[in-house]
Amino acid sequence: MLVSLNWLKNYVDIGMITPEELAEKITKSGIEVEGIEYIAEKSENVVVGYVESCEKHPDADKLNLCQVDVGEEKLQIICGAPNVAQGQKVAVAKPGAVLPGNFKIKKVKLRGVESNGMICSLQELGIEEKYVPKDAVDGIYVFPDEVAVGESVETLLNLNDAVLEFDLTPNRADALSMLGVAYEVAAILDQPLNLPDEDVEVADEDANQYISVKVEDKELNPYYGAFLIKDLEIKPSPLWMSNYLMAAGIRPINNVVDITNFVLMEYGQPLHAFDYDRLETGKILVRRAKQEEKLVTLDDLERTLSGDHLVITNGEEPVALAGVMGGASTEVNDNTTTVLLEAAYFAPAAVRKTVRDTGLRSESSTRFEKGIDPNRVRRAGLRACQLLQKYAGGAVLQNAVEFDELDRTEKIVEMNTNEINKRLGTEISSEEIVHILKKLRFNFEQNIDDFIVYAPTRRGDISIFEDMLEEVARIYGYDNLPFTLPAGASQAGALTAKQQLKRDIKNYLQGAGLVETITYSLTNEEKISKLISPEIKEQNPAPVALAMPMSEDHKFLRLSQLPELLGSLAYNEARNQSDLAYYEIGKIFVSDEKGLTKQPEENLRLSGAVTGTWIEQPWQQEKKEVDFYLVKGIMEGLFDFLQIPVAFKQESLSDMHPGRCATILLDEKVIGFIGQLHPLLEKQIDLQETYLFDVNLEEVFAAYSNIPAYSQIPKYPSIARDIAFILDEEVQAGDVKAVIEKSGAPLVIQVGIFDVYQGENMPEGKKSIAYSLLYQHPEKTLKDDEIEESFNQIIETVNEKFNAYVRS
């Protein structure tokens, strides 16, 4: 909503307050003022001039040499506008004038001829082109004849106006009218209101002789008023009205259209003018459209309608989309002499669907959608009649033809001073509340501290006590509320064990060198099926898709965080940032339903992707690229830190390197996987070797016990023994380790691997793996022969199971 302060001043005295101060006050008491526009920053020395003569420039075809009377003097001005002509009254910027954009007017010579000023277009004076009347867009502006030569253009064209731009919240539809704004400003400034009257002199004839009105759906259209105005003359509207409309962001067209728009802005009541003769039948029938019914609207587009849409018909054919747009066939044009003026109340629901289906959102439809004041509908019609009589020379016929089942009662809200203070934490007196209600111009009854408030119908947002609480508080001033802290027993705040664990996991990973990322949950068709962890895949998830995605890239809810994470790696790689270690903790969305009937399961996951160099600047050691064992080490460290025993099992998963991939098992159950991204995929998205991990955190949380069991610190010494086996190269180190652990239990408490060798001095197809064993007994010092016995037992078992022998 654009609020012209010059227009507003007609209804409320804003005194000497600056636009900035007023904007601040309005913002603080309830309506955010987003900006202040000045129509023209400067427009001194611009006056009305009379073009006494206009001839072609002797040396330039497209220029005109004009003699212009500006009152005190006559100026010779060269003008290039095609529409300049002798006898016009025009806006003349005299030498010394400064126009918007700091454009200084000086005496110049154009092609050898002196020019002492400039004849201006409206755009040059600071008015936005889209609001300039169409016939004045391509040339200079021509004043109506009645303006006086020499008069300052600044006031004539309202160039000294400041326009406040309101950012209205949906509840404050009342401020979609100048009168509503006037009420608000009068309350804030505690000033009297000066409202327009709707007095109109009517002709002898009765509109009922010309019109009949019938409404089929009174829910959607509880009031329809048709006014008839005869003998109109279509012409430009008065200058002041055009000025206000332009300031409000509406382009002037002609007096009839402008008056409906003016009253729309003034009262917040949309009106529509039908050309009575072109309506043909004199009948108004408001009904739902028939299926596939057609209507060509004012914008010359044919609309196909349905029963969801309310239409105005002439008894047979639709002539307007109710509350949204008129039809082309009954549009007012230059030949119109008789107008049927519609002032109606269309329910928000009647308009919303039409707007959604046609995409036609207008000043009118917006007001109907948000709800208009039922007490202003008829009055707005009368106000328009008054103006049509005055500015279009029309004869207003007696009586409006009406269908009227409109509820105009005010809502009653009870409130009490103590309750108000209890809710606000204030000590406002009843006298003060009375003063606030009077400023707001709400009717009320008072009994000491009890109030009955009649919420005015213009304020459709007020219906319950809390609404009044807000009214009282905002006029009282939020700045005047005290600062208090809640009374009552305080509870201890803390993270839950799971929330704390999530933070601990993040801290571990960050300490291990990983950087946290956040990617989008919505992904595309290609990515949705990639890199899904086996335990999720097992559930046969059907991707959850948006009903109306905004783009193909954000269409499905992810089933793995990895594809989007890889996208982030590729983004960096493309910018020469190649060493990356990323993780993300977030949700995936799992459902096996094809058509979703319930919320999908939201599975919290920890995912990571690592690529490039892990150790750089190697002056004393080898530069180290990331590899499988780096990622495995980070995962082993994590589970060790969490004291959750997991196992890794070699597995070939799709999209992963078949020989470098493992599932993570907890109690035989898959809870995630690690490994190298398949080299083909790496190539496809331009990545170097990239290693991934993906862990189901729900399973981790379930397995985690946040109070670890106490285990006795061993008192007796531990003894270390090393052994190297020569094995067939297919044998996996972990399998041998498992056998050692089993065979050595319970004396062997730890088995490590410290060397793997294959190559020179090793038989073909063989490799050597060296294990370190740690012996310890909780209750005694182990003797050499006890260890020896166990050690030999282990060697024997490994020999047996793996055809291995001890490397000497």
């Binding site: 955010e32 802290l485 960050q510 600047q617």
Partner: protein, 344 residues
Amino acid sequence: MKEQLEALQSEALEKIKAAENLKELQEIKVAYLGKKGSLTKVLKGMGKLTKEERPVVGEIANRVRESITEALENKSELLEKKALEEQLEKEAIDITLPGRPVNVGGPHLLTSIIEEIEDLFIGMGFEVREGPEVETDYFNFEALNLPQGHPARDMQDTFYITNELLLRTHTSPVQARTMREYKGEKPVKMICSGKVYRRDTDDATHSHQFTQIEGLFVDKNVRMSDLKGILDTFAKKMFGQERKIRLRPSYFPFTEPSVEMDISCKVCNGDGCSVCKGTGWIEILGAGMVHPNVLEMAGYDPDIYSGFAFGMGPERIAMLKYGVNDIRQFYTNDIRFLKQYHKA
């Protein structure tokens, strides 16, 4: 014999003095004090002495031995010290070479901000709650006083999955869920954060996915002045003790009265500058007193209970606090961006 012994002593001491390393010293020790050493040899000749001479010579011999032993020890200590010094000198390294790199990661800026706010409210006795990102129309809208057809639904353009299921447009459904879980029987003091989604085209100031953090406090006799006090405490801790707050009326369907909170601009201290668009204030969050319909739907009697709620966008706070100028940065994961804020 006495002369012999004394000659031996001075000879030995001379040699010890001249010794240059521990090996030499050891040789000297063997040469004089060893089983076949000179002193031992001399002492073996003692049997030839008379009974009277023996104790005298014996005493001399002992003195000589002690003197040599002591000299050896002293010299040995000296040489050891010298050897150590030499070794340490040899071990000196170039400390200007870089150290072994340690890879250190870090949190995402939004996480840092969310955790800072969470911790702040935990300190004021709030608990942290969570909720689903795929919500029902009921919890996302209806339970928050946004029935079908409510014009304010347009304020939050929604990603629907079905007619009933959608991506939550705000974290507020967690409020409704928590109140319902508490069955209108006990006070609610919670904060929750998470991802939310809206039908916006991604640009510098819009993102179809972003985060929110919000709080709810419901109890008997909660006043609007309490909301002002809590928000003031929050703003001062988050943005600095010298910051002032102001509340402006606003509109949210789930609160009445509704407010927006501004803090005084840090750049100009309220005088007006380009950062605050000349107003001296910067909008931080929305808040209000919980609408009685919301309380009632969740099972709280609005005649007994009242409460306040507030919500804010960590992205916006990050943008204000750290000058991030493009919201897409939070989701692009450019390593150069992420690393900047690891100590935030």
